[in-house]
């Protein structure tokens, strides 16, 4: 009897000692605890590019907002319905958690690599920084004030929002530091860099082109700062089509161009050319039409009424070039750089060249990117309605129209440039639920998870509305 009790009690004690030794129990043996920092940079390149080139109605509505495209049976996004699909949240999340947080982590991990020299690590950190600046700029241009100085810290679940203009100033500083750090004599990201395969010289051009873009973005708000930055950057920007920053997608999912996923793989027929854009191309007899669109019924290029319910078969669909899963996703093109330079000249900034020469180079590059020849470009530019000297309107209107046409592959930038240059003039559709968005409202998650800070930011920018202008959007 006693034996039984003694036996059982001692067994009890034994049994409960076991867990102490089972430290391996809570280890995830199927996921890595350590990875090379550059692999997080690769992820950021991929996510950022996919986000800005996507046409998913759950993520990126900007091809609609600038009226490149109209929708067929489900025109809610064309009518600026943001609530239903919460695409403002998806866009925000993709940039913060897909791009910025991974870049932030890459920055922490890069020094762990004992096999990379200090010079290489310095180059890698500079590339990380340039991509981060690109992402931050996209966020500010979309939302205005955003969490910046307190962001990317998991210990701070409710980061405060910073003033958009202040963020821009910080971004200039960071970009300058990164550009100064880049050393073409040492290696960079290597094959982890899907844009330039580690070519540091290319990153210097990309960084300066980005700086030029940032300079002109704020030009209406701070002409002096814009002039300084543009003048610094201009000598080192892209000089040829092949310089552009783009990500080469591949044919196998999940690394295809997201356009292919929505236009081809889905088997859906949601998008067609919108009449304001197609009419403009037609009016200018644009050689890029064949690349941008398929012909509609009757063999011509037919745009659909924007924001209406449209029948797919009645209009021109997006061009077959866009149906290639390996179509590169463009972040910054040579053509855009030349447009920026043209504008800089018009603003009296000493970047060299004339507005006309840059304008011509920009249009020519765009036509070449779309598969046209330099002869096509020359013919096109010879038309009085296109030629810089004779085209109608102010420089902003002239550049605005041509830039609108050229940025067809870069909808996010196109939307920013439309807001900034106020050209072309676009009209909201009759069943629109709001004006044409000049910004995206803060995501509903910020409302619930970071309420007080979002509230303060909303007040600071003049209301969390689609009609509130970003600080650089003066006109």
């Amino acid at each position: 009897m006693k034996k039984a009790i003694v036996f059982s009690l001692s067994t009890l004690l034994l049994a409960t000692g076991c867990v102490d030794k089972l430290t391996e129990y809570n280890v995830d043996i199927k996921n890595p605890a350590a990875v090379p920092g550059v692999s997080l940079f690769s992820n950021a390149e991929r996510t950022l590019t996919r986000t800005v080139v996507s046409t998913s109605v759950n993520l990126n509505p900007f091809r609609l907002y600038v009226q490149y495209w109209a929708q067929t049976s489900y025109p809610q996004e064309s009518r600026y319905d943001i609530n239903t699909r919460q695409l403002n949240r998806a866009f925000w999340d993709a940039l913060y958690t897909g791009s910025l947080s991974n870049l932030n982590e890459a920055k922490k991990l890069i020094p762990n690599n004992q096999f990379a020299s200090a010079a290489v690590q310095k180059n890698q950190q500079a590339c990380v920084e340039i991509l981060a600046v690109y992402t931050w700029k996209t966020l500010v241009d979309t939302y205005g004030n955003i969490p910046y100085s307190e962001a990317l810290d998991f210990n701070n679940a409710q980061p405060k929002y910073d003033d958009a203009k202040t963020i821009y100033a910080s971004l200039f500083t960071r970009l300058d530091a990164a550009l100064a750090a880049l050393d073409p004599s040492a290696a960079g990201m290597g094959s982890a860099d899907i844009f330039y395969n580690g070519n540091v010289a290319s990153w210097i051009k990309f960084g300066n082109s980005l700086k030029l873009r940032m300079a002109l973005t704020i030009a209406d708000d701070d002409a002096a700062k814009a002039a300084t930055a543009a003048t610094q950057a201009a000598p080192k920007v892209f000089t040829q089509v092949s310089d552009k920053a783009q990500l080469q997608f591949v044919s196998a999912p999940p690394n295809t161009n997201p356009l292919w996923e929505d236009l081809v793989q889905s088997g859906r027929y949601d998008f067609i050319g919108a009449s304001p854009f197609v009419n403009q191309l037609n009016a200018l007899n644009d050689p890029r039409r064949a690349s941008y669109f398929k012909t509609g019924p009757g063999g011509g290029y037919v745009g659909a009424p924007y924001g209406a319910l449209n029948k797919y078969g009645d209009f021109s669909a997006p061009g077959s070039r866009l149906e290639d899963p390996t179509l590169p996703g463009v972040l910054l093109s040579y053509s855009e750089v030349e447009f920026l330079l043209a504008e800089a000249v018009e603003r009296g900034i000493a970047v060299g060249g004339t507005a006309t020469s840059h304008y011509n180079a920009a249009v020519t590059a765009s036509i070449q990117e779309a598969g046209g020849s330099s002869a096509d470009a020359a013919t096109y530019l010879a038309q009085p309605s296109v030629a810089y000297a004779t085209a109608t309107g102010t420089y902003k209107q002239k550049i605005g129209i041509q830039k609108w046409i050229a940025l067809y592959d870069q909808p996010v930038v196109a939307w920013t440039e439309w807001r900034r240059l106020d050209s072309p003039s676009l009209v909201k559709p009759t069943r629109a639920v709001s004006e044409i968005p000049l910004r995206l409202p803060y995501p509903s998650t910020e409302l619930s998870l970071n309420g007080a800070n979002r509230e303060a930011a909303a007040a600071a920018i003049g209301g969390d509305r689609v009609t509130t202008r970003i600080f650089w959007d003066k006109f």
Partner: protein, 1068 residues
């Protein structure tokens, strides 16, 4: 009248006190109180003289010679309450025995399978007899409990073999498990489902059911629902959600064979399916396409806002482009379909057959059972087959050592389970949200049958030669080609040895195992729509093992005449291992009809693996002190050590204290009409551990892009400092029975606060993560449970028994995280989310709402839509105000009629089905007459003959809206023009849940067949009638899946199936 009855009973009770003392023979007949039939095998002994006894014969008749000193007889029988009858002047004692659960002095199985007298329990524990669960022949033992236990909320889904949400006393954990723990003969059984997160939040998927459905209902002897923490505290870390304890049947003396054979058939309840308008056909607008001059129906438009039907109009419709169709190449009249999608549903047929053989003697007993259950659903090519084999045996090796073992082996195989959520595999999404009223279901069936191809109505652009399926497939193609299939092989059981060291101490050693392997294969055939994903084949394999080692020492001793003691001390070692692997083809299927991972267009992406191990070691003790069988004090403590937490944090102690007072013991003489009375109170703390792998951070690898390896941070930041969630629970209750237990009432009030919630706290994604694990937040559940019964009529031949239960649970989120007053639990299509908001009930629905001016809805300036708020307005609460169930049992001789009415009052549900369906012009209300009496879809002319609609409401300036606008696609009734709040409905219902009519053949008849001991034939019905509901066209109870997600949200909901069946029960 009632007063009279009271006095008569009092008088009778007084008379019975007299006892006669003389040596004589007593005889009588013992019957079952429920059906009046004689009970064979009832043991009868003279009280205080265990050696003087007999048992009843096959007719329930006995005769016993008793000594003159005998004062009363004790009648006992397995499954029935032991009853005592005083020996009076008469030499005849006829007695009707009641089944166990109705009696208050019964033995109740409690935590760790300790049997206790109900008297000594100071917490709420409801014991349900196995026969009550199987009354309506529900193949799911879980669903069979629905509506029968106060505080137990079971939400069934209408899919075939789908999961059931089983929650006791409300949801406590914001993100953790809220499902009750099932314990079968000491074996903890996971009730988890393996449904994907997407499936649970309304995305496309399948509901694979939860594992507690692997229990054989016919093998259940009793089910005890332990609700509060005090009742479950001995389970420590996994006790927070209550426990459903199932005790299986044991071998009885002799050799017994029981056979159940039943068949049921079901049809959908049309009040839970959409009704269509029959005036307008396909289109997002009033147009036809054109094929060389002949009009073509807009086949790509998955809506019915098209041209008005006109039999004189001949139009090329989908079948004109379907080779093999009799209408191939022909224009056919533009008319509404003769067969709308309600004709898609078939009669479901299910069979449930079981056989149990058991036997035993003084040395031991055994039982072998086999159950085969084949369920065929109401939609084509759907079935779930279950085979369950169980064996149990007990052997008394020596007078002191008893051993027993049970093993339960089951195979569940599903084929063509219903697709759920928003997607082309769920035909309800298609039928309810995106349909063309001109498409005839029977013609779709014929078209599929021509060549087994995707002869869909939803052709992309047939007039230009594009005959691909754009958004939706032929429904029959979905069912016969895009089916899933799955299997689950499961073994659970135990081996137990009990050594009785002395008469007051024994040691029990037990090893239990629950082990299953499941495989799920899903597919979308080549030729299917690729709108959401290309054709694919995917395969998911998962293994689950849980092993428990228990060692328990039991003490039971009466300290003296007044004081009794019962206690235990024990240890438990739990080990769980879960491994899974998932792989899918990439970029589509290369070849048709081949479902293998190698059949992939793009190179296969590496499979996703998971590997999780959990270990918990527990030490526990329990002591129950009794004083004169009136006062009971119960103390328990359990210490758990868990590997899901870091070493410094991983030891926790969970205590409980309960006190009960049986006041009726003191009232015997004063108020003999009080048959039983007890008050009780308790307090306990129990816990819930962290999810495994929530401590340390890992990266996630993605397929390489070119030469670049890709890795990323997870979206959830883990936390090493987690501690278990803790539920503090208190309850007070009263249990009473009056008038010889003809009337009884039990009431419990409880409050449970769950603190230190383990939350993957949603954080601003600007922090770099979307969630971060923290311990924070408090949820309170408080409620009242009332159970009562009354036997209004009880005569020799006729008994009417009415029992009812009522539960009100109030759930409130008291706090979350510093400065956070709302956490999004899940987001759904349509901009809807489930939330935990401070001050609100768990799971409150948010979305856009109307804006109001002086109580009127504000319409926008153009009159085309309501002005809406952003999507964070609180628009609904999915939690009911109360739930209740009423069971009536009427027995007349061998005939027994039972029916259960199940009620849910309050709570709300959002319908994505109506959100989209109304926008697509499917429902009759989108095609009615306007305020002028004209067809609302007619053109707006602003004359007396004008069509169009004036949205009811006011303009921004407060004046009534007078703008007449066109009633066209995506227009006025559905989404777009209306906020989410316009599609939130009251989810109350009153359902006739179960009804059964059984007839037990009299023994005089069955005796002629010699070996037959009993024959019962019953007719059963389930979900026969929704007596009341407020949700149009759907079943308010229907949900997406079990679990915390998806509550109060419907998308592609399945109609309720009414079933009617017959069952024959034979015992030999």
């Amino acid at each position: 009248m009632r007063k009279h009855l009271f006095w008569v009973i009092l008088l009778l009770a007084g008379l019975c006190q007299q006892a006669w003392a003389q040596d004589r023979s007593i005889s009588g007949k013992i019957t079952d109180r429920n059906n009046g039939q004689g009970l064979p095998g009832v043991t009868i002994i003279v009280k205080g003289m265990p050696t003087v006894g007999t048992s009843t014969n096959a007719d329930g008749v006995f005769s016993l010679s008793v000594p003159s000193t005998a004062t009363s007889l004790v009648f006992s029988f397995v499954g029935y309450a032991t009853q005592e009858a005083p020996i009076t002047g008469s030499n005849t004692i006829n007695l009707a025995l009641a089944t166990d659960t109705k009696q208050l002095n019964e033995v109740v199985v409690t935590a760790l399978n300790v049997e206790r007298s109900r008297n000594s329990l100071a917490y709420s524990a409801t014991q349900i007899d196995g026969s009550e669960v199987t009354q309506a022949r529900n193949p799911s033992a879980v669903n069979g409990l629905s509506g029968k236990v106060a505080g137990l909320a079971i939400t069934q889904s209408n899919t075939l073999g789908g999961s059931s949400n089983v929650v006791i006393r409300g949801s406590k954990s914001l993100f953790g498990n809220n499902q009750a723990l099932f314990v079968i003969d000491g074996v903890p059984i996971s009730n988890a489902n393996t449904n994907s997160n997407a499936q649970q939040t309304g995305g496309s998927g399948y509901d694979y059911g939860n594992a507690a459905s692997d229990i054989n209902p016919d093998d259940i002897a009793t089910t005890t629902v332990l609700k509060g923490a005090a009742a479950t505290a001995l389970y420590g870390e996994r006790a927070a959600n209550g426990v459903i304890l199932i005790t299986t049947k044991k071998g009885r003396k002799g050799l017994n064979v029981t056979v159940n054979s039943g068949i049921t058939a079901g049809r959908i309840d049309k009040s839970t399916f959409i009704k269509y308008q029959k005036q307008y056909g396909a289109g997002y607008g009033e147009y036809f396409n054109d094929d060389n001059g002949t009009p073509v129906a807009p086949t790509a438009d998955d809506a019915s806002y098209g041209i008005k039907f006109d039999p004189t109009l001949n139009v090329l419709q989908w079948d004109a482009y379907t080779p093999g169709s009799p209408n191939f190449g022909k224009a056919t009249p533009w008319v509404a379909a003769a067969n709308d999608p309600s004709t898609f549903f078939k009669t479901s047929v299910s069979t449930l057959n079981s056989i149990t053989i058991d036997g035993g003697n003084d040395q031991g007993n055994f039982k072998i059972g086999y159950t085969n259950n084949v369920e065929r659903g109401v939609i084509p090519n759907s079935k779930v087959i279950k085979d369950i084999l169980n064996f149990s045996a007990a052997l008394n090796l020596t007078p002191k050592l008893t051993t027993s073992a049970t093993v339960n082996f089951s195979r569940t195989s599903g084929l063509g389970r219903y697709g759920t959520g928003y997607g082309s595999e769920n035909l309800m999404t298609n039928f309810r949200q995106w349909w063309q009223t001109n498409v005839d279901i029977k013609e779709q069936e014929n078209a599929y049958n021509y060549a087994n191809q995707n002869a869909t109505w939803n052709l992309a652009s047939p007039e230009t030669g594009n005959n691909a399926a754009i958004y939706w497939n032929n429904p029959y193609f979905v069912r016969y080609q895009n089916y899933e299939n799955d299997t689950r092989y499961r073994t659970f059981g135990n081996v137990v040895a009990t050594y009785k060291a002395t008469d007051w101490f024994n040691v029990l050693g037990r090893v239990t195992l629950d082990s299953y392997d499941e495989m799920q294969e899903e597919r979308a055939a080549l030729g299917s729509t690729t709108a959401s994903y290309p054709s694919y084949y995917s395969r998911y394999n998962r293994t689950y093992r849980e092993i428990n080692y228990d060692l328990i020492g039991n003490f039971k001793k009466d300290i003296n005449e007044n004081f009794s003691f019962q206690g235990l001390i024990g240890a438990n070692m739990r080990r769980q291992y879960i491994k899974s692997i998932f792989a899918s083809t990439n970029g589509g299927l290369a070849l048709p009809n081949l479902y293998a991972l190698t059949n992939t267009v793009s190179p296969l992406i590496a499979p996703t693996e998971t590997d999780v191990s959990i270990g918990v070691d527990g030490l526990f003790a329990n002591a129950t002190f009794g004083y004169r069988n009136r006062v009971f004090l119960d103390l328990t403590a359990r210490r758990d050590k868990s590997t899901t937490l870091i070493l410094a944090n991983n030891t926790f102690i969970y205590p409980s204290v309960s006190l009960g007072y049986v006041f009726s013991e003191g009232l015997r003489d004063i108020a003999p009409w009080v048959s039983y009375g007890k008050v009780r109170a308790n307090y306990a703390e129990v816990g819930q551990g962290a999810n495994p792998l929530s401590l340390y951070d890992y990266y996630i690898q993605s397929p390489a892009l070119g030469a670049a390896a890709i890795a990323r941070l997870p979206l959830t930041k883990n936390n090493q400092d987690l501690v278990p969630e803790r539920t503090r629970s208190g309850e007070v209750g009263i249990e009473t029975a009056f008038l010889n237990s003809r009337v009884g009432l039990e009431a419990t009030y409880y409050q449970q606060n769950t603190i230190n919630q383990i939350i993957p706290l949603r954080v601003s994604t600007a922090s770099g993560y979307s969630a971060r694990y923290v311990n924070s937040g408090e949820v309170r559940n408080r409620g009242i449970e009332i159970t009562g019964f009354v036997v209004p009529v009880q005569t020799e031949n006729f008994t009417w028994r009415l029992s009812a239960n009522w539960t009100r649970n109030r759930n409130e989120v008291l706090s979350l995280f510093n400065g956070v007053d709302n956490i999004v639990l899940a987001t759904y299509q349509g901009g809807i989310s489930s939330n935990a908001t401070v001050g609100q009930a768990f799971g409150s629905l948010r979305g856009s709402d109307y804006t109001y001016l002086n109580g009127q809805k504000v319409v926008n300036a153009s009159g085309t839509a309501y002005v809406m708020t952003n999507s964070s307005a609180v628009i609904g609460n999915p939690n009911p105000n109360w739930r209740g169930g009423v069971t009536n049992t009427l027995t007349y001789k061998g005939l027994a009629l039972t029916f259960l009415v199940d009620v849910r009052q309050g709570g709300q549900v959002f319908s994505l089905d109506r959100y989209y369906g109304l926008a697509g012009g499917l429902q009759p209300e989108t095609a009615g007459l306007n305020d002028l009496g004209n067809p609302s879809r007619d053109a707006v002319t602003n004359t007396a003959a004008s069509g169009g609609i004036i949205l009811p409401g006011v303009k921004a300036d407060g004046t009534p809206n007078t703008t007449r606008v066109a009633n066209d696609a995506s227009g006025l009734y559905g989404y777009g023009a209306n906020p989410n709040a316009g599609f939130v409905y009251d989810a109350s219902f009153v359902k006739l849940r179960e009804a059964s009519l059984g007839y037990t053949f009299p023994s005089t008849l069955t005796n002629r067949f010699g070996f037959v001991k009993g024959v019962t034939l019953s007719i059963v019905g389930r979900n026969l009638w929704i007596i009341h509901k407020n949700l149009p066209d759907a079943d308010p109870e229907e949900g997406l899946s079990s679990g915390n997600l998806g509550q109060g949200y419907q998308s592609g909901s399945y109609p309720l199936t009414r079933t009617l069946g017959a069952n024959l029960r034979l015992s030999f």
